[in-house]
Symmetry: C2
Subunit: 395 residues, 2 copies
Amino acid sequence: MSVGADRFLKDLHQLRTFGATGTGIVRRAFSDMDIAARLWLAAEMQEAGLTPQFDPVGNLFGLHPAEKSLLIGSHSDTQPEGGWLDGALGVLMGLAIARASVQAGGPPVSVVSFQDEEGRFGGLTGSRVWAGDISLSEVDDLCDFDGISFADARSKMKELAGDFVNPAQFTGYIEPHIEQGPVLDTSGEKVGVVTEIVGTRELLVTLKGQQNHAGTTPMPMRRDAFQALAEFSHELNGRFQNVVASQTVWTIGHVEVHPNAASIVPGQVRFSAQWRDGDAGRLACMEDIVRETLADVCATHGIGARLSESQQILPVKMDTGLREKLEIAAEQSVPGSWRKMPSGALHDASYVARLMPTAMMFVPSIGGISHSFEEDTAEDDLVIGLNVLARAAFG
Amino acid sequence: MSVGADRFLKDLHQLRTFGATGTGIVRRAFSDMDIAARLWLAAEMQEAGLTPQFDPVGNLFGLHPAEKSLLIGSHSDTQPEGGWLDGALGVLMGLAIARASVQAGGPPVSVVSFQDEEGRFGGLTGSRVWAGDISLSEVDDLCDFDGISFADARSKMKELAGDFVNPAQFTGYIEPHIEQGPVLDTSGEKVGVVTEIVGTRELLVTLKGQQNHAGTTPMPMRRDAFQALAEFSHELNGRFQNVVASQTVWTIGHVEVHPNAASIVPGQVRFSAQWRDGDAGRLACMEDIVRETLADVCATHGIGARLSESQQILPVKMDTGLREKLEIAAEQSVPGSWRKMPSGALHDASYVARLMPTAMMFVPSIGGISHSFEEDTAEDDLVIGLNVLARAAFG
């Protein structure tokens, strides 16, 4: 079955014009550009023989007339300074395959563009509401950084809004996406079949030592909060070696030193410790190690520690049936040049997996760059991805 | 010879009223409170039989009529939030001993309160000009954080200003001071005789890695600038062990992480590395180790480093003749309950040592606290310090 690669690329470049800024895109959820792009998408869906339907939170579905269909898509909103493929790729791969499925009378495929995946109101807002993780009245109270409520934002689309789409009509959901990491680009492989979306745990830690004069306080009498942080980081790296897998990641990304002056022994440090893995048990085990290591280092350095409750996002396993279809299609299309891999980033698939069998497929990101105007993927690789996905949907 | 401990304590509490704020003092150089305190000091000097003389930069001398005298003093300006003894103690110990020397016809002693020791215009400004380290025209261009020039500040005292005092009239300088550290308070000793004022070296370092998504970037592909800093700190502590002495100190006091978000691998870190010791050779050797360790850690972590030129303050040895007088006096007054020790903080003595034999004596700081409203010393310990100094001056 032909999926029209030229039309797919033309559509991608057409969608790119909405909010184009240099090589990147500014198309925040519910902005004029976002709504204009969704109206263009709805027209494209109509023209492809699908029934466009907006729901109350701005999610746009293009529904195949069949009673049951496979749903393919992602999102068309962007980061404040976003790339042209993040989200858009999945929506337009879905549209290309749904168009082909209508034209050929093949296995029915519907398409979706979720709203506010990029988190103007906290992240994955559209799919989160659809999956029932948060109610419409709760989400309406969320505000963006300018103090605008979700209720006010979605009221801009109230003329368009229909009912929520019944998820029971879909046999499953596949979300194609750029990898947003360097693994495929580095290995030269063309496709990643996602095994799971990793879970995340995060702690915010405050270390309290004793602020002191950096000239007059002998080393053995210091309770230096920054030294405690540096030793914690070093010690943690060692202790993690016994439990981590190759895909496990951990990050100290936020650090505040007080009073932060060259001639003063730091009296306080606040920092974030975050770790991600596909295995819930490993995430819990790592939290034990983080807490033990902190306790040991603080005891050695005479430091008090205050830890937040850990923020937890559970890992989401991808559906084995859909994964197998993607794996077979990848091996047929690009034999030996694809891999199974976790998704280190969150996606709408995390919530949709609560409703139906769900899978994801990655194409390479040049240099691993994303959430940036420089985000890009070779057009040949986009077409390879489209063909793998079509094989999986129709095969 | 009696040095009038009651009068000395009364004077300390009287000076404390200028700028009193809770238990602390706000008496910034050239502020109305600072000038009022200096006028009060000048009147006290006059009454003690000394000749008060302001110089062009606000230093106030109380000159003994003898052709040659020993100079004792410190400063009477304070930090923005200062303690009641930092500086004031040395000036009023000097005044008490000078008064006694006039009354008894004993060995002549003069007294000084230097201006801007606490650095409204950079630090040690008054003694620095007097010692010829910076010219009057250069110092006039220095500005405080509000943009007020030294020239404008000192013009508030122009009616008072006389000539610079000729340093050749002094046989030496002794600066009594609170320790500003925890050594004497912890050991229970009463007096510290300073061996040297330590030197300082400081580097500002920028580490450049690669900013990345904390979920999608595998650990082996990261170039995490914060991890490089933490490993540098750990490694440096180990390598320093072979060269440092018990009094050597080193501090990473300022740290800026970019972009400083929990979910982003840090792409850049800026930090200060500072170390202090009384031995110039050791300071240089430590700089070699800092630079080697940074180079090694950066190579391992794929990080680029940009280092400032090191800022250097050379160590200043105290005069052995004056030290010996203080040591003998301490052993007579509080046998076995004093120690020789370096000064980890800078003092006016650092610059005065360029002009004449110079020494320093410390009394305990409760809890090692200074540059704080909580700074304090037991009155018994103040009087012990006064008696040791009087013995050294007259003995």
